[in-house]
Amino acid sequence: MAVSQEYFKTFRDLPREDWFVCGHRACQGCGEAIAVRLILKALGPNTIVVSPTGCLEIISSPFPYTSWAVPWIHVAFENAAAVASGIEAGLKVLARKGLLEKQKTNVLVLAGDGGTVDIGLQSLSGALERGHDFLYVCLDNEAYMNTGIQRSGATPFMCWTTTSQVGRVKRGNLTWKKNMPAIVAAHRVPYVATATVAYPLDLANKAKRGIETEGPAYLHVLASCPTGWRLPPELSVEISRLAVQTGFFPLYEIVDGEFRVTVEIPRRKPVAEYLKPQGRFRHLTDEDIAKIQEQVDRECARLGIP
């Protein structure tokens, strides 16, 4: 099956060129910037990128500078999938009428968690349901980071943010993280996957598989954020690896409805190993951690992960 293809077996298989280029204003250790660079390496220059408002848009496009060596458009916060729908439909009809040299150009959305799971959910749902041929990547750093670490629907349980403060009465975010890949999968789209920058070839292959899929594809990337997660920048990739190895963020893909784990974790590490290095979780008691562990165990069992 074409979608399971390993396009990139080693780093040598990735192009040396970059289409998300240096000079951008991301924080040190920004997982999102690493992911974007890899995704564009995987997709190549025949790609149009749509970004909603968010970290990525502000770090990459301070007029008159740009970090985008591919065509890129930002319109607003809640409508990236709708803009991508118009781009895809426009390219399709212009190609049909013989007005384009290229018969196919990649349409890629690079969005944050706020622009995806909260304010952009409606337009994403509409675009998925209509079946546009595009890859939507949610770069999930688990809060509204560029506005100053406010909680989103993707913020984990009990996590500190500036709008889910740890006080005497309430201790962090009171809700469990919204399961966005499951919401997308419920639209019966042909390709859904998760990835992190700690498994870069897995990430690059999934991006490539997503864009090669006919119809909507969705890639949910846990994008480590040293600034918002209260983490030393040099641990950005390491924490992403721990998220996978503890089962906090399993790596899988759902191809035409068929689920498979792509990075097997034979012996899951305790979730405390993922939580402890991060300042945003430093208020957690052993009891709190046990509660989160229980939820992670339950979720892994649901997914058939040992």
């Binding site: 848009e57 301070p62 930002h74 319109v75 709708a82 118009g86 009809v93 212009l94």
Partner: protein, 391 residues
């Protein structure tokens, strides 16, 4: 040769989009605009022309999808009304400020509350500062002609701005009228079948659209947008002149009626101008020197042409279908009194608000407004204001 047909105004809109050979239609149903998108959907389904019809999940996404399509060089169209336009509000500015050619039909409808599907101009007037070219049409023929020409205006390299063509919800959308439908060849002589986009999302020539604008540059960008919008008036006039040469129907930014020797004149936009014309005739029969200006181009505001049209007028009666809540009456009243203040000759402006929420404006209503002005019964409490305090 053109063919004379009977057509529902909504279908005239769809016919104009079809004859413009639009590539992408992104629309969401809302009364009283629904017949437009239903007809377009039928045309596309029947293969009458080749377009992508995107059934978006909201008006917000309709205008967003139009931006996407426009950004890759497609000719695109949408239609909305009332709440739909309000939901688009945020994106209207981006469509114009980032210079995306788009044509939108607006079947003017009252904004909630209370929920009301009938016609007034509170929808478009609440978006009047969105930087679009805003045109008002009266009947099927004008709607068809102005939508067709809107594509040419919008796509002109000197303009590159979206154009909204407004007409009355129900009073226009749901009536059947006589219209001359041009031949395809005539249309092609006027409007090329495809857009030529100089700036677009093209992998061979990567451009960044919608970058962040820091205070050091934002003011300049805003000013360029304002200049582009103001300069578009000349292109609007040129396009309409060319339209007249090809189709024999002549349009200008405003249309005076019996204004040559008029002392008191109405100014208004949209379908009520037909009723007003009858009122002007009746007032003339009664011996009054009455006249009327139908304003066709609302943004950019045709200052010079209005000043010329009112050069012999004593009093101008503005008829607004929208209240600038907590302000000074209606938008036309505000714009015109502003325009006349400091003008070398004093022109009184009497501001009336009428037709809100689909309330019919009858011939007698226009006569009544006129009589009130003649009798000097206008006062600020009733949204009737007189320039420089003359009463």
């Amino acid at each position: 040769m053109a063919r004379r047909i009977a057509v529902e105004d909504s279908h005239a809109v769809a016919l104009a989009a079809k004859m413009a050979n639009v590539d992408v239609i992104a629309a969401y149903p809302i009364t009283p605009q629904t017949h437009i998108v239903e007809e377009l959907s039928r045309m596309v389904s029947d293969g009458e022309f080749d377009a992508e019809y995107i059934n978006v999940e909201s008006e917000h996404s309709a205008i967003s999808a139009c931006i996407g399509a426009s950004a890759v060089g497609a000719r695109c169209f949408t239609a909305t009304a009332g709440q739909g336009l309000a939901l688009m509000h945020e994106i209207l500015f981006i469509a114009a400020g980032n210079r995306f050619p788009i044509v939108m039909a607006i079947a003017n409808r009252c904004l909630s509350p209370n929920i009301n599907i009938w016609g007034d101009q509170s929808d478009v007037m609440s978006s009047r500062d969105c930087g679009w070219i805003q045109i008002f049409a009266e009947n099927a023929q004008e709607i068809f002609d102005l939508i067709l020409s809107a594509f040419k205006i919008s796509e002109d390299d000197r303009v590159l701005l979206p154009v909204a063509v407004n007409f009355d919800g129900f009073y226009a959308t749901h009536v059947v009228e006589r219209m001359d439908l041009p031949e395809e060849e005539e249309v092609r002589r006027f409007l090329p079948p495809h857009r030529t986009a100089r700036y677009k999302l093209d992998p061979d020539r990567p451009l960044t659209f919608g970058a962040i604008g820091f205070p050091a540059i934002q003011f300049e960008l805003r000013r360029q947008w304002e200049e582009a919008l103001c300069n578009s008036k000349q292109v609007v006039k040129e396009v309409w002149q060319e339209f007249g040469r090809i189709f024999g129907r002549h349009y200008d930014v405003l249309e005076p009626y019996r204004m040559e020797d008029a002392e008191i004149g109405f100014i208004l936009m949209g379908g009520s101008s037909g009723t007003c014309r009858v009122a002007v005739d009746r007032l003339r029969e009664r011996g009054f020197k009455a006249g009327m200006i139908k304003l066709r181009l609302f943004r950019p505001f045709p200052k010079e042409e209005i000043l010329e049209a009112v050069s012999r007028l004593k009093t101008l009666i503005t008829v607004d279908k929208h209240i600038c809540l907590g302000g000074l009456g209606g938008p036309l009243f505000n714009d015109l009194r502003s325009l006349f203040y400091g003008f070398q000759r004093r022109i009184n402006v009497a501001g009336f608000i009428a037709g809100v929420g689909g309330r019919d404006i009858k011939v007698e209503d226009f006569e009544h407004m006129f009589e009130k002005v003649v009798k000097g019964e206008v006062s600020p409490e009733k949204h009737v204001f007189i320039v420089r305090g003359e009463s």
